[in-house]
Amino acid sequence: MTTIDTANKSDIADMPAAGAQGPVDNYLTWTKGAISWIFTLDHKRIGVMYLAGVLISFLIGGLFALIVRTELIAPGATIIEPSTYNLFFTLHGAVMVFLVIIPSIPASLGNFVLPIMLGAKDVAFPRLNLFSFHLWIIGAIFVVLSLLLGGFDTGWTFYTPYSTTTETGGVVPVLFGVFILGFSSIFTGLNFVVTVHKMRPPGMTWFRMPLFLWAIYSTALIQILATPVLAITLMLVGIERAFQIGIFDPAMGGDPVLFQHFFWFYSHPAVYIMILPAMGIISDLIAVHSHRHIFGYRFIAYSSVAIAIFSFLVWGHHMFTSGQSALLNTIFSAITFSVAVPSAIKIFNWLATLYKGSIALNTPMLYALGFIFLFTIGGLTGLYLGTLNTDVHLHDTYFVVAHFHYVMMGSALIGFIGGLHHWWPKMFGRMYNEKLGIIAFTLVFIGFNVTFFTQFMLGSKGMPRRYYDYQPEFEIYHFISTIGSYVMAAGFFLTAYYLLASLFSGKKAPANPWGGRSLEWQCTSPPPHDNFKTTPTVGDCYDFSVVRWSDEEDGYVIDRSKDPEIAPSSAHSGH
């Protein structure tokens, strides 16, 4: 190692200014000033910045949703005009999908946790990581810009020919914004794949990785394979709109169904970009908080990869009523059912892990259990939509809306928030108020089900989605649904309150508050700048027999005497 750097000038400038952190430094205070954050190459800071961006977008997208729900509380005009309503539900969808859910787990929690779980100092390409964050910011700016230019009312799916002909002025900027966000997502995925392949420490074989990493890895594969197709497709829509090239616009001889093929070739896998990382989080949450070795490790790991591959073979099930041919309808419908298999494998393995576990019903665990409940409903209702003949009835009704909210929100976002609670003490070194956490979870869980289970009923009774007005017989359902959304919003605002409060007045977090065994629990909370002074070696990250509670630490410690596999070198950072 003759080539290792010694501190050059810029390093000296970046040396920590605060020495008050005790013997172990802290990435949050390693350097100070906004510039040191905006241009940081530290994966942890990039993760935290993503987290901030994602949560702000979540707030905005959530407010849009509340406006839409409030408008629908009664038939006829309630608070906004029909055209404004179209803008708001479109914006809600676009912001939630492209700015919130897709980057939520991989880019924020994944960025923070993945290198630490691997025992690496950083992701493989820190500059690329920063670049993709900056791309995310630029993409978000374009989305905001499109708002200023009149918004867009195409729905988040940008279906042609409406998207190439609508009068709203924000379509091209938002297409460009999503194009850029796509590349942000690609580079994040690329970084993670390389990191997982090349940065694993000695001893961490593929089958010793935490399952969260398997999920992130599978997600990254989808991001790499699918997102370019979305990018080029949206680019073509933009060009179609600007120059009338006649690719998708039927008035020019184009084929709008072709757009749907291309769009869903990305966007169906994108559904798994959203859900797979959440499944990974749940795998870890279930094991850690029930203090029991994960059941069927390999099945869960393989099922993540299987879902990633299957996700590319089922995109046509979004197009059963779009004029897709009967042959393809049949093929896609048949393959769609097969996705249920790896999903069910995960569910059963989680349940088997819980069995006879020593379950701690703290907030992250509640979210994990909520996930299992909601994902089961969301997944099973997906089968109704994957069946050709029922889909003809249910397509474009609130049944679809309810289904994908159960999956996207009830599963992906609930998983994200569960993971956020799980790693919050690690990220910021503070414990949040557990009681408020449980109350907030209860509000979110009840509010969610009230909001969206009602919509299953609405949809099966024939209420079409995206409508501004409706028949009086639907009023009661819409009313209940809207009330549910308020309850849910209250839960989220409460969550925001106690999480923010914990930053200022929270109890100092121990290195290992939950009894986790993977590497991130072996460095301090918050982790030091370099994560680990020396590359740690690893044991079985689901073997909790060596983890025990320590009053002295007010947290869990790993009893090294019981596990000869752990090299003493990694002990420093974990006390």
């Binding site: 072709l258 046509g316 041919s325 393809l328």
Partner: protein, 143 residues
């Protein structure tokens, strides 16, 4: 030119082992010559009428050329298996996209006819003679 005929890792007597693989100049030049020859061949074939086979030949030559570029210019022949998997895997996904979309658009049924099918029209005439449902288009129905 081709002082480095050795096929494997050529350390050239220098102090440190080379990371990666060194491809001899001769191999590169021969690859380029093959590519140029194939280009000339594919242009020549364009002027021969081989019916459907024109496209097959042109694409076949293109695939050979692309393979040559990937294997020798891009060192893929000597690269890590996973890198090879990435390259060919991505091509497989492109093939998947093309195959399924072509399969679909090839199946599109005619949706616009000159008038209604006979049985439908008969039913309309019988039940709703006033209904202005007959479709008019400038396109004649297929077959």
């Amino acid at each position: 030119m081709s002082a480095h005929a050795k096929n494997d890792h050529d350390h050239g007597g220098l102090e440190q082992p080379l990371v990666g693989h060194l491809v001899p100049i001769s191999v590169l030049v021969w690859t380029a010559l093959a590519l140029l020859f194939l280009t000339a061949a594919t242009v020549a074939v364009r002027y021969v009428d081989a019916g459907q086979f024109n496209m097959v030949i042109a694409l076949g030559i293109a695939v050979i050329k692309a393979t040559l570029v990937a294997l020798f210019f891009m060192h893929l022949r000597w690269d890590k298996p996973f890198n090879q998997l990435v390259f060919f895997g991505c091509i497989a996904f492109v093939v998947l996209l093309i195959a399924l979309t072509v399969l679909d658009t090839g199946q599109y049924a005619p949706t616009v006819f000159d008038g209604n099918p006979d049985d439908v029209q008969a039913a309309l005439d019988a039940n709703a003679p006033e209904a202005p449902i007959t479709l008019k288009t400038g396109v004649s129905s297929p077959d």
